[in-house]
């Protein structure tokens, strides 16, 4: 037991070397078998074969949407008349999510390997890692890894004599959650405001600088070297048919042992919460759990006996999302928690779409008023109607994400709302 908290029931593929300071160095990484996958992919596999093995593995995007990674790669044009780009989404800003940070902080070369193999697979000549600017401790680690990889010929011209060349640039974000949305990220990368683009065109057709581009999450890319080394079937030994492999869950909130845990995707949520995370603090009980980052619906305490697969959490009424688990115990006032989340979305909405820009602002105002004792019963249907008007009508899904916790909290924790409304006075719930 080294890394802040780890547990024998984890399946540690990505996180095997978390907590080992030597693994952050190039030599340390090579000692641990690093860059074998790059050698294999570039030395003995065609682009199509790499895509094929990732398809076989069943890997789905870990950034939130769960789109099959191999399939996404196969959308890239086959001819290389235009430059192709791979953009690694390391903007990790979803509340409750900090698993990409752990990958980059402990195993930067694991990510670089994924970037190199991914770039090779989609025919990219340039890869960007777009890192959240606030990750001040992570950025130098990644930068050092890039410098070292260049110096040893894993990046740059004619990598390992394979004839394949790749430039890699680390780009820092400037503090906007919406830059994590892939097309917002592309705009930001181009020096524009991080405003999501209308799709189509999709990035594979017209992405960074107008060129064919794939955007992948850090975790999606970091696992690729393992799949290339061990094969698709090997990865499929964990998880379910629709949710293969392992997934990092960054767990925070009211937990005895918060931290990042790697579990097979068929792991039970209750086990994750009680066994790996040590359950709620002494004398408390879970009231609500958000399993996949603030953008997914909230689960109530009686909904926690669920499989952590895409389909399992969906059946339970939520989503895997980014794997940013937020646990809330019975000391939590849900109106307060949801108001805080909605204020986050109001602050982070890029403001293009009317529903999102004004809806997040308005809903946050109403929630705050309820919290402060000025609530009215008609606020409940009003909030539900505002949420309905916000969902499914905008350029990106931030608007839906803001609506989701409002709706699920009203459905599942209406008592918290009614109590505050009934109290009709300043409620002592802090801010």
């Amino acid at each position: 037991m080294a890394y802040p908290h780890s547990h024998p029931r984890e399946t540690r593929i990505l996180s095997e070397h978390f907590g080992e300071i030597e693994a952050t160095t190039l030599d340390g990484w090579i000692e641990r078998g690093g860059y074998k996958a790059v050698e294999k992919a570039l030395g003995s596999m065609s682009r199509e074969q790499v895509i094929e093995v990732v398809k076989e593995s069943g890997l789905r995007g870990r950034g939130g949407a769960g789109f099959p990674t191999g399939l996404k790669w196969s959308f890239m044009p086959k001819d290389d008349t235009l430059p192709h780009y791979l953009v690694c989404n390391a903007d990790e800003s979803e509340p409750g999510t900090f698993k990409d940070r752990e990958i980059m902080r402990w195993t930067p070369h694991q990510l670089l390997e994924g970037c190199i193999i991914g770039s090779y697979a989609i025919g990219a000549s340039h890869c960007y890692i777009y890192i959240r600017g606030e990750f001040v401790d992570v950025i130098p680690v990644v930068n050092q890894a890039v410098v070292d990889a260049y110096s040893r010929g894993y990046l740059g011209r004619d990598i390992l004599g394979s004839g394949y060349s790749l430039e890699l640039t680390v780009h820092l974000g400037a503090g906007a959650y919406i830059a994590g949305e892939e097309t917002g990220m592309l705009n930001s990368l181009e020096g524009r405001r991080a405003e999501p683009r209308i799709k189509p065109p999709f990035p594979a057709a017209k992405g960074a600088f107008g060129m064919p581009t794939t955007v992948n999450n850090v975790e999606s890319l970091a696992v690729v070297p393992h799949i290339v080394t061990n094969g698709g079937d090997w990865y499929r030994q964990w998880g379910t048919e629709k949710s293969s492999g392992t997934k990092l869950f960054s767990c925070c909130g009211h937990l005895q042992k918060p931290g990042t845990y790697e579990i097979a995707m068929d792991f039970n949520l209750k086990d994750l919460l009680y066994d790996l995370c040590g359950g709620p603090p002494e004398g408390r009980e879970f009231k609500a759990v958000i399993p996949g980052g603030s953008s997914v619906p909230i689960l109530a305490a009686d909904e926690l006996d669920a499989e952590c697969s895409y389909e399992g959490l969906e059946a339970a009424g939520s989503m895997v999302g980014s794997g940013g688990l937020i646990a809330m115990d019975d000391s939590t006032n849900m109106v307060h928690a949801v108001r805080r989340m909605v204020e986050f979305y109001a602050h982070e909405s890029c403001g293009q779409c009317t529903q999102c820009r004004e809806g997040t602002y308005w809903a946050a105002k109403i929630l705050r008023r309820i919290e402060r004792g000025g609530g009215r019963e008609e606020d409940i249907p009003l909030l539900l109607d505002i949420s309905a008007n916000m969902a499914g009508k905008t350029i990106c899904v931030l608007s839906d994400s803001a609506a989701a916790p409002i709706v699920s909290s009203i459905q599942k924790f209406q008592d918290d709302y009614m109590a505050l409304i009934a109290k009709g006075q300043h409620a002592a719930v802090g801010t």
Binding site: I198, S349, G351, Q352, R357, W362, N389, G392, K393
Partner: protein, 527 residues
């Protein structure tokens, strides 16, 4: 029969329409008379599909789709007024009003505001907003344009105009989300020759021309289609008038000339055109210059021309209409045409980068091309050409500012046809009051050779009448023609006499204008 491969069948609210591939639902809907509400969409700008006002239901689609960018597909079935689409639209209005001050009673855009219009149209007349609104205040973005932040709906039309059309990306959304507002990158004021188009594209009252601020309510203005007289471009405009005064000019779309735009200088020129003391009555010189009625004035002009005063020379304004210049030419021909001249004030040219067909032309008069077609010559000093002329001297609407001392003194007869009586014009023997372009129907020929019609927007002052009217009446008296009853009739005569105008009529010119013959063959060759 329509080529099946090149058109697609769409059904919009039950109306079937065939459109070419690539047509947006919004455009296709317009073809069947369904005008979808829109804020961010403007036909002259790119479509960012961000206001989400134009959402429609498409059968088989999981979500409502933005009609301004969604292209039709064959056999698509669209419902623009389904319950979902209507609810979404009402919701957008409600959301837009969450932080809107509703200060319509003091807003310049009231009456021409798309927010007002759609609020009424969608029936969202109540607000469920009880929480306090954000206050943003107002600030200038140019020395003449004020931005009212609270009214802004962040449609970004103004930003895109500066980016894409002016191609000087000075405006941007500052901040993000509900805190967003429009400002320049540096916070400083900007200036651009076409800046006032941002006021036109603004669908609400967020960008306001200070010049027009609180001058008139939009619904109090009468509108007349016209042509800007500011330069030889001939931008198609609409004149907004009230109490027989021009209050403002707005561009009217014409893809061949000015797209949806016009320059700032033109707007100012139009508003000031013909202002100041006007010449309102005909006058004859006896002991001094005295007002007379039209009968006596026309008789005097007729007599003078009958009296063989000697060949005629003249100075004309290139701001006069084709019809006026044609009549002037014919009046001069009675005495024998011996040369007509006009000055062309020149100033810096400003091309609109994103629509380079349009420029504020360096020739700051509307009808130099027309004047040339009737045989007038441009001259750096037209007064010098006629100063010592001894025959008949005609001046058409040139103020004679800067004419030499004793101008016209040597002429046998000096006829002044004008809108203003300057000291030099007071030396004329016969003074005939004419109308400005805004007070009559007529045409200009722009730099390309495009003949474009303008409609009367104002009542002429006093007894002033268009020259085609007084001039053709004189020609009738002289027995060299008949009095025309309309500008159209005058134009028909003109087209019969001048080959360049052959075949053109007011009807055929229509609202978009028509090229003169040589310009037609030129474009044909170029095309």
């Amino acid at each position: 029969m329509a080529d099946a491969s090149s058109t697609q069948k769409v059904t919009i609210d039950g109306h079937e329409v065939m459109v070419p591939p690539g047509t947006t639902i919004l455009d296709a809907a317009e073809r069947v008379g369904v005008v979808l509400p829109r804020y961010c969409y403007h036909p002259g700008l790119s479509a960012p599909a961000l206001c989400r006002m134009c959402l429609v239901e498409v059968e088989g689609a999981p979500k409502l789709l933005p009609s301004c960018v969604q292209q039709v597909q064959d056999d698509m079935v669209v419902h623009t007024t389904s319950a979902d689409a209507r609810k979404a639209r009402r919701a957008v209005i409600e959301f837009l009003l969450v932080n809107h001050p509703l200060d319509c009673p003091i807003c310049d855009a009231a009456g021409q505001c798309e927010l007002q219009d759609y609020a009424f149209e969608t029936g969202q007349l109540h607000t469920r907003v009880t929480d306090p609104k954000m206050v943003l205040g107002r600030d200038n973005v140019t020395p003449e344009i004020v931005y009212f932040g609270d009214r802004c709906i962040l449609c970004t039309r103004c930003v895109r105009f500066m980016d894409e059309v002016a191609q000087e990306p000075v405006l941007q959304v500052v901040q993000r989300g509900h805190k967003g507002y429009i400002d320049t990158m540096t916070g400083d004021l900007f200036e651009h020759a076409f800046s006032m188009n941002i006021v036109d594209v603004c669908p609400v009252g967020a960008l306001v021309n200070e010049d027009f601020l609180f001058k008139a309510r939009a619904w109090d203005l009468d509108q007349a289609p016209s042509i800007c007289p500011g330069c030889s471009q001939g931008c198609n405009i609409s004149l907004g008038t009230k109490e027989n005064q021009i209050r403002r000019a707005k561009p009217r779309p014409n893809m061949e000339v000015n797209s949806y735009w016009m320059c700032d200088e033109g707007r100012k020129t139009v508003v000031n055109w013909g202002s100041g003391d006007r010449l309102e009555v005909p006058m004859l010189k006896g002991d001094s210059l005295l007002p007379v009625d039209w009968q006596r004035a026309l008789s005097a002009l007729t007599e003078a021309l009958r009296g063989e005063p000697g060949a005629a020379r003249g100075v004309a304004s290139a701001g006069a209409s084709n019809e006026a210049l044609y009549i002037l030419r014919r009046l001069m021909e009675v005495a024998g045409f011996d040369g007509g001249y006009f000055a062309v004030p020149m100033a810096e040219e400003h091309v609109l980068a994103g629509f380079p067909k349009l420029a504020l032309r360096s020739e700051r008069v509307p009808n130099a091309r027309g004047a040339e077609l009737f045989g007038f010559e441009r001259s750096d000093d037209p007064y010098a050409e006629v100063a010592s002329h001894t025959g008949a001297l005609f001046v058409l609407d040139d103020p004679l500012d800067g004419a030499p001392e004793g101008f016209g003194a040597s002429a046998a007869i000096f006829v002044y046809l004008g809108t203003r009586l300057s000291p030099a014009a007071r030396r004329a023997d016969i003074v005939i009051p004419v109308t400005t372009f805004a007070e009559m129907e007529g045409t200009f020929t722009n730099f390309q050779g495009r003949v474009q019609r303008f409609a009367p927007a104002l009542q002429p002052p006093g007894l002033a009448r268009p020259l085609w009217m007084s001039g053709s009446a004189t020609l009738e008296r002289l027995g060299t023609g008949s009095a025309y009853r309309s500008a159209a009739e005058t134009f028909a005569a003109l087209a019969g006499d001048y080959e360049e105008f052959d075949g053109l009529t007011y009807e055929s010119i229509g609202p978009g204008g028509s090229l003169i013959a040589s310009a037609r063959t030129q474009t044909a060759r170029a095309g």
